[in-house]
């Protein structure tokens, strides 16, 4: 175990996985010479050489499209998208090919592509450096999606993604890249996809979240201590989803607040709420509430804090439920 920042844990995972399996390679913009604009890929070029850590041309669809072909040639590509919103040019390749190619070959080929990117707001950056695009990814058949909220999970989920035979998108909450610090197992460390994590036990209300909203929910639970006992469920893996954990916690508390940074309409919170409306209807003691970003472009950073779910907005929802 070593104490690490979240972004250091990402870097650690890459070092371990590239050392473990020589078919793993990293490609993306500025991942080599510069070691990534967040230094997530630092040291890979020196250690593994320019064939396994590649500075590509500035072309996101080219990167992901090339990754499809690299798989056919026996590689396990790990693609970095430099920022959330700069992944949109690769959506066509993702939806059209990455999620369908195995199916198209009658299950005879594997496309073990990992796409990883920093995502989310709160970093005081110019526009389009702040998006939470998980809906686009998780709605796409053939794709798996995971989002860590701790350094240990950042390492373990990325390792799981790289080893997974299916394409996996990992969204890394950049606002906590250097604020979340924690013990990370040394060497190989895999957190299986499809398992949620109870980040805090509670009995009155379940707060369901992922990514940077997990520490936000933990802060809210802390603030509400005495008033309401909040359980915090860290989804971790959006597909495969740990429905059991969701239903178990909802069954226990009967009250659910779902928190997401992304715009409200068909955010992933809608899926979680829909599952509860279908499978937990008799357990619910009140409405399923969502605390989300708004259906507007992510704002300029002087007002971004008003956009982001906050302790205040989450508490408000908890109180509504308690009083229901």
């Amino acid at each position: 175990m070593t104490e690490k920042l979240l972004v250091e844990a990402v870097n650690d995972a890459l070092h371990v996985e590239l050392a473990r399996d020589e078919s793993v390679m990293v490609l993306g913009e500025d991942v080599g010479r510069a070691g990534g604009v967040f230094r997530a890929t630092a040291g890979l070029l020196d250690r593994f050489g320019e064939n396994r850590c590649v500075d590509t041309p500035l072309a996101e669809a080219g990167i992901l499209g090339a990754a499809v072909g690299l798989c056919m040639a026996g590689w396990r590509p790990v693609c970095e998208m430099q920022y959330d919103a700069f992944s949109y040019p690769c959506l066509d390749q993702l939806i059209t090919h990455v999620g369908r190619y195995r199916w198209r070959t009658g299950g005879t080929m594997e496309f073990p592509i990992t796409v990883r990117m920093p995502y989310g707001g709160g970093v005081r950056a110019p526009e389009l450096h702040d998006d939470s695009p998980e809906t686009y990814y998780v709605h796409t058949p053939g794709i798996k999606v995971a989002i860590p909220s701790t350094p240990a999970d950042a390492k373990g989920l990325l390792a799981a993604a790289i080893r997974d035979p299916d394409p996996v998108v990992i969204l890394e909450p950049k606002v906590i890249y250097r604020t979340e610090r924690g013990e990370v197992p040394d060497g190989e460390h895999v957190v299986p996809l499809g398992k949620a994590r109870i980040a805090r036990e509670g009995t009155d209300v379940t707060l369901v979240a992922y990514g940077a909203m997990v520490p936000m929910c933990l802060r809210t639970a802390e603030a509400l201590q005495g008033e309401a006992s909040c359980e915090v469920l860290d989804v971790r893996s959006l597909r495969p989803l740990d429905e059991e954990a969701l239903l178990a916690s909802a069954g226990k508390t009967g009250r659910v607040v779902i928190v997401q940074e992304a715009p409200r309409t068909v955010g992933f919170g809608a899926e979680l709420a829909a599952i509860l409306a279908e499978k937990a209807i008799l357990d619910l003691r009140g409405p399923v509430l969502r605390v989300t970003g708004f259906d507007v472009p992510y704002p300029y950073w002087k007002i971004e804090d008003m956009y982001m779910p906050s302790v205040e907005r989450i508490s408000h929802a908890v109180r509504r439920l308690i009083e229901f």
Partner: protein, 343 residues
């Protein structure tokens, strides 16, 4: 924009010039002929098959056979082929059963094939998005120290897509052993080349990627063969990708659902039909004394037999198991994949 005409001098030609190619003997000439006949037979029968309502929409490739056969014959078996829908039957040249391709057009999952079995990637339906795949494969093979190269087929329209651009540039930067083969049939459905680009020629695009570009008469199977062979040699020598523009003219509808009379030049189509690539090659082989009536009949009936057998096999295939819906999307499927399924 320069509307490209067959008469332009800068197109590479072999047949019309009655040239003979180094290292291409009678055997190779006839192999090429067999391939063209096989493709032609597949295409013509498929059209009939479609008219009988037994396959769905079908993208006709009549008069594109010289481009497909000529280029594939310049490859080695380990080289990879990335077809678009226009090259749907190109796998036949790698031993794929006609029934497989028919199934693809019948919307039957038996039309799924394993690309590694033939080194033929799945048919790419969207325009140009397979160019980066081919670049990635070729680059990946090179990184592994393997000798294989790749060829990717796309149309004139495809050159307008961002995916073409990104794939071509990737291949160039990585010096990937790739042949970018552009079937310039001068139409993208109803859109003529003049509304697609202002470039003098599509081969001009190669300049911007720092790779050689060459133009060839797409109706001349030997010219195509020769140009591709040179590109393959470059690729194998580690000299990176090449761009080949094969110029032809779409003499058939875009696909069975299309009625080109609204937009095409019908006279030009008639002219093209008279000069179609299979007949041109037959006349050349006859001039060389390599082909006679008997041999031609034999080769054509072989192809017809293969196709008949393919159709019989396709018809005999039972309807697919609906369970296939869930079979192949994931290696390790999420647990809720069948949510809502009624057993």
């Amino acid at each position: 924009m320069a509307q490209v005409a067959h008469g332009e001098p800068e197109l590479r030609r072999v047949i019309d010039e009655d040239r003979e190619l180094d290292g291409v003997g009678e055997q190779e000439l006839l192999d090429l002929y067999r391939s063209m006949v096989l493709l032609r037979t597949y295409d013509e029968r498929s059209l009939v098959y479609h008219r009988q309502g037994r396959i769905g929409t079908y993208a006709i490739f009549w008069n594109h056979e010289a481009m497909q056969a000529g280029s594939v014959h310049a490859l080695a078996r380990e080289d990879w082929i990335f077809p678009s829908y226009r090259e749907s039957a190109i796998g036949l040249l790698r031993g794929m059963p006609p029934a497989t391709v028919l199934h693809w057009w019948r919307g039957h999952p038996a039309g799924w094939w394993n690309p590694s079995e033939y080194n033929v990637a799945s048919i790419c339906v969207p325009i140009a998005t397979h160019v980066p795949h081919a670049a990635g494969l070729a680059w990946g093979k090179k990184l592994k120290g393997e000798a294989a190269c790749a060829i990717v087929y796309f149309g004139d329209g495809a050159t307008s897509e961002g995916a073409f651009h990104e794939g071509a540039n990737f291949a160039a930067v990585m010096q990937a052993p790739l042949i970018l083969f552009c079937n310039n049939n001068q139409w993208a459905i109803s859109t003529p080349l003049s509304a697609q680009t202002r470039a003098e020629t599509l081969a001009d695009k190669a300049v911007g990627y720092g790779m050689p570009g060459t133009r060839v008469d797409g109706g001349d199977v030997l010219a195509v063969y020769e140009a591709t062979r040179e590109a393959v040699e470059r690729a194998r020598a580690g000299e990176g990708p090449s761009f080949i523009e094969a110029v032809t003219y779409r003499a058939a509808p875009h696909a069975t659902a299309d009625d080109p009379r609204a937009y095409i030049d019908l006279e030009r189509v008639e002219q093209e039909k008279k000069n179609e690539c299979l007949g041109r090659y037959e006349r050349y082989l006859r001039r060389l004394g390599v082909l006679g009536d008997e041999l031609e009949a034999e080769i054509k009936s072989e192809a017809a037999d293969a196709m008949r057998a393919g159709i019989t096999a396709a018809e005999a295939e039972p309807d697919p198991d609906p369970e296939l819906l869930f079979e192949n999307a994931y290696v390790i499927p999420p647990p809720n994949l069948r949510e809502g399924w009624i057993d």
